[in-house]
Every structure is written in C-alpha cells, then in structure tokens.
Amino acid sequence: MDIQLKRGLLDVCVLAAIREEDSYGYQIIKDMKPYIELSESTLYTILKRLEAARMLTVRTAEHDGRLRKYYHITADGLKRIDDFKKEWKEILSIYQFVTKGDDKNE
C-alpha cells in the first residue's frame, strides 16, 4: 500500500481506538491487531504526531504501582474521524464506478 495513504489510515485507526474511552499504548496495539499490525515505534510516532496536531491529549496515571500514559481524544480528533468517513464515502463511489464493468470485461 502507498506509504502516505497508510500513514493517514493509521492515524485514523489510532484515533478510533481511543474514541469510546481513554486507552493506553499496549491496549491500542491489541485492539488494532485483528485489523492491522502496528509496531511500538510506529505507534509512538503516530501518538506524537496526533498530540502535536491537538487531536489527542495525554495524561499520566498510576496503575498497579507504576505509571501509565492514557490518551484522550479531543474535538479535533473526533472531527478527523468524521472527515475520514466522508472522504471514504466519495472514494467508495469512485471505486464502484471504476469496477463497474469488471464482470463483463473478464
């Protein structure tokens, strides 16, 4: 898959992983695993980028005697997910147009 495209997709996936409730690094990786594999280093870069873009905020909380970072989605982050859905509706209709004649041509 095109690298730029994949990067944009991963950003939205991470946002979706923290949409319902605040989540932490390992939980995000586990939640995404059935759909898309993500390495720790990649996740770190994505979280940094989303934080800089104010699409999520970070808080540190104690868990089981150690510290853990939790990520919380912002209004901008939710808007990013909505924009993504709209974009993909357009892409889907283009896809249907592109594949329309496939059965006849094969």
Partner: protein, 198 residues
C-alpha cells in the same frame, strides 16, 4: 534479554538525541513491556515481542531530522563564560572562513557527483540525436543517388541505436546508485553525530 538490559541498550543507541526525548521513549517502551508482563507473558517474551533493539534504533534515527540532531549537537551543555564568548568573537576571522570553506567543499563534491550523472545522460541524449540525424541524412543520401554514403549513414544509425540502449541502462544504474549512496551517507552522518555524544 530482560527489561533493564533492553532499555539500557536502547538508551545507548539513542544517546545523541535530546535527553527529554530519550527519557520519554524509554518510559514508553518500559510501559509496553510492563503491560505485556501483566498480560501473562514472561519478561523475556515481552522484550522479544517488542523487537530487535538495533532495528528500533535505526528506525528512530531515520525518522529524526538532521537539523534537530545538529541543533542538539551544537547546543552547549552549560552557559558560555564571558572569556569564551570574547574568544569566539575574536576568533571569528579565523573560524568563519574555515567553516565556509568546509561547507563549500562539501557542496562542490555533491555538485561534482551530480555533474557526472548529468553528463552521462547528455551522452545518452546525443546518441539519440546522432541516430536521428543519421537516419534523416541516410534516407536523403539514398534518394539522392549516393547509395554508398546513404548505407554508411544507416550503419551509423544502427550503431547509435545500439549504443544508446546500453547507455540508457548504464545511466539509470548510475543515477539509482548515486541516490542510494546519498541516502546511505545521510544515515551514516546522523549515526556518526550521535556516536560522538558518548
């Protein structure tokens, strides 16, 4: 490898980055290992799942921009004393020209390398142009009842066409090679700068 060994190796590999960045990454990977252990993995298994330290380090280095590394490298660990500032200003006529010369040399090496590539492509284009003109003049000579000269020109056309095929692949290979070399040099430069911190 256990958790503290992993983190120590990671810290060593990242030693050229700003300290706050390194600390943040270390706590991130530490948390990842702890969460895996909580999930039922042994410490060894948890570290193994994170992956190879060297690969992680080279991925991080390739993502860090060169200007950031340079900034970290030249930012002094302590404030400069008045004497040092005076010396820096007094020494300006000496070190500034040297610095400019060093940058100029590096730049000219870069330009020279690409000039070679440009000249290779120029040779390729001239082969094509030569072939085309040989074709035109060859046909013209054949029609002008000087068939021997015409045949000679057509022979020149085939030589040009044949050579241009080889020249094309040669030029492509040279361009790709130089591009790869440029990328490798950048990674090498970054690694050297980070090693210098130790």
């Amino acid at each position: 490898m256990n958790k503290s060994e992993f983190l120590a190796q990671l810290k060593k590999g990242l030693s050229g980055l700003p300290e706050a960045d390194v600390a943040e990454r270390l706590s991130f990977y530490g948390e990842m290992i702890d969460d895996r252990i909580e999930d039922g993995l042994s410490e060894e298994e948890a570290v193994n799942e994170i992956g190879n330290v060297d690969e992680i380090v080279s991925q991080i280095i390739s993502e860090v921009s060169l200007p950031k590394l340079v900034k970290q490298k030249i930012s002094p660990k302590r404030k400069l004393t008045a004497v040092e500032i005076v010396l820096l200003i007094l020494g300006l006529p000496i070190w500034l020209p040297l610095l400019i010369a060093a940058i100029a040399v590096a730049f000219s090496v870069y330009v020279t390398v690409w000039a070679v590539i440009v000249s290779l492509w120029a040779a390729f284009v001239s082969l094509i142009a030569g072939g085309l003109s040989a074709f035109v003049s060859g046909v013209a000579l054949l029609l002008n009842q000087t068939p021997m000269s015409g045949l000679l020109m057509l022979a020149a056309l085939f030589i040009c066409a044949g050579l241009s095929v080889f020249a094309f692949f040669g030029c492509m290979a040279a361009t790709k090679g130089i591009l790869a070399l440029t990328k490798r040099t950048a990674v090498w430069l970054k690694t050297r700068m980070m090693k210098g911190e130790e």
